[in-house]
Symmetry: C2
Subunit: 342 residues, 2 copies
DNA sequence: CCAGTTCGTTACATCGTTGTAAACCGGATA
DNA sequence: TATCCGGTTTACAACGATGTAACGAACTGG
């Protein structure tokens, strides 16, 4: 028997299809004898319910999609891990889309191309505009992760962190440690890039607050947020007069920058301090260990899954806005003492 | 209209359900007028086919599962990226399971718990035994990634690399560079751990070949293959007499070991050379950059997807055994000159 | 002008499951 | 003995899409 169905089990057990279904679904009124017989038949044929049929019938699949730019980026890999765990606790399965931060692909993701296959969507967009979002037919519930898109009034739940405050705190930390030429790596010239803009704002606020002059030549743009981009941006900064600290808008940029600094013989943090953002695992084992902003990824994932669950069970109130706390992790890359003691 | 069906489109266009279906599926014999009318109706209602219904009807879902121990491990994240891309080229969607290398979870994965939801399974097991595999009802096609399980005659396609040869080459490289006390980090005391055993064998072969004495105290066991494990194992090695080179069975172990070495003031590669395995991106931006064994991950993913496709389209021959090539990447962590020039 | 052909369209059954409502059965009640 | 009742089991109709086979209409050729 290749693929037994309820019917096959029913025939073997000598009962009706529905009775088998009742057993499978733990329907209360099934006599012990019948149940035993059915269970035996199920075991004998090693029957498994057809999930497609169930989905069709129930209008639900138990599958949610997680769309991220790129699993290669450890931040998203770690986020995915957390999301999968949180979804698992609800009995959901997670399907992963990679958008590469490509606007066209991101539009495909929200266009409901997989309508009816997924019950909901957790989406961390990079390039999407408010207009793209507004044009969406809101059938499949969606929760946005990361940056808010469009000004205000989005109909979608959103989970994020306070990027401005976090970037500000990170930059202030550098200033407090005595840095006067604080560079920033990570602004992007693309139209959207909301996250980068917010972190830049926090950086600028901090400079103003600390009375450190803002030097535009210390703000290094990058194309993407990978290690290579960070390394290359750092090179440019060094060529045009070394800073004494650099705040990178994420950890992969920071690891790239760190690489360039060490390769060119700079002491970190002695000559240049480095600060990242995301708290990916790599940073904890870099040398020097990387100071960073640590968002609570597990909580981000959990909140997002909870919000989605709320929508799936019929919740229709206005969009929730969840701001997950973050903390600063001060490690060797900004702390001369920590570094010396090693 | 919340969720338009073929029926709704058909009514709006004034044709039968099947005609709409024909348009959606590019059935050739549809007149231009009809097609235009139907397409207009589809657009107006923004109709999307119900994939659950399609799956039920077709007996296929277009979804494949990828089961890996842990996306936190960059190797698996990178592999997942490649798999998703390869699957995408075939129009498949990938659903990800994390097993944590836990045998119970791995058994659930192969037990067909998601039968009928997924068309096939790409599985990278850690703890599974040959017995577990043998007990599987082979309904959903499965391709194994990584290590072979059980001796010979598994009915499953398998994609891997020649671990013994790779480990041997990596270790020989260390010996050629003059190392005499070559440590190994990564053997596991657990029952299975096939990969670790193979890499250990390659390491031992190389020692014998190079005429380097094999010192059992230089083989450091670990519980898992994470950075922390590597760091801790390195610590132990240093405490009991420093080696002059260390071959780590994967890159995360190596990065952990590297961290410990630098923290404790050792020069790498000057005093201790470090060699990893996997060629994860982090290694290229570590300082010093990490020498490693680089398996062709894209090819692994592509081969696995191809094998699965073959099975899905009815291929029933005996199990294929694909051995993907690897190369050695010699970087600063084993090359004094490369390191000095920086 | 009719039989034969082709093209475009349609009705129907089916995939496997589950909600609904009705049928069944033995025992307790009137 | 007839009625009722609770628990147990069942038949049937959906869920939405598509393959099959059959239909009608518009042609062709004799």
């Amino acid at each position: 028997m290749v693929r037994p169905r309820l019917k096959d089990v029913a025939e073997l057990a000598g009962v009706s299809i529905k009775t088998v279904s009742n057993v499978v679904n733990d329907y209360p009124h099934v006599s012990d004898v019948t149940r035993a017989r059915v269970e035996a038949a199920i075991a004998e044929l090693s029957y498994r319910p057809n999930l497609s049929a169930r989905s069709l019938r129930a209008g639900r699949s138990g599958v949610v999609a997680l769309a991220v730019p790129d699993l290669d980026n450890p931040y998203f890999a770690e986020l995915a891990t957390n999301v999968i765990e949180a979804a698992d606790r609800r009995g959901w399965t997670v399907l992963i889309d990679q958008t590469q931060g490509d606007r066209a692909k991101e539009r495909v993701v929200i266009s409901g191309i997989r309508d009816h296959l997924i019950d909901g969507l957790l989406f961390s967009p990079l390039a999407l505009t408010g207009k793209d979002l507004a044009g969406r037919d809101e059938r499949t519930p969606m929760v946005l992760l990361g940056e808010r898109i469009g000004m205000g009034r989005s109909p979608y739940d959103h989970v994020g962190i306070d990027n401005v405050a976090a970037a500000r705190a990170a930059t202030l930390h550098l200033a407090e440690r005595g840095a006067r030429r604080i560079a920033a790596i990570g602004v992007q010239r693309t139209a959207v890039a909301a996250t980068g803009r917010l972190r830049l704002r926090g950086y600028q606020q901090a400079l103003a607050e600390a009375g450190v002059p803002a030097d535009p030549s210390l703000v290094a743009p990058v194309a993407r947020w990978g290690r290579a981009d960070g390394a290359e941006a750092m090179s440019r900064l060094l060529d045009s007069g070394a800073p004494d600290a650099v705040f990178c808008f994420n950890d992969t940029l920071a690891l790239g920058a760190l690489r360039t600094l060490l390769k060119r013989g700079y002491e970190v943090p002695g000559e240049v301090m480095v600060m990242g953002f995301d708290d990916i695992q790599d940073g904890r084992f870099a040398t020097p260990t990387l100071s960073t902003v640590a968002p609570d990824k597990a909580l981000i994932a959990q909140s997002a899954v909870d919000l989605l669950a709320e929508r799936l069970s019929g919740g229709t109130g206005k969009a929730h806005e969840v701001c997950v706390p973050h903390r600063l992790a001060f490690r060797e890359s900004t702390d001369v003492r920590a570094s010396r003691t090693t």
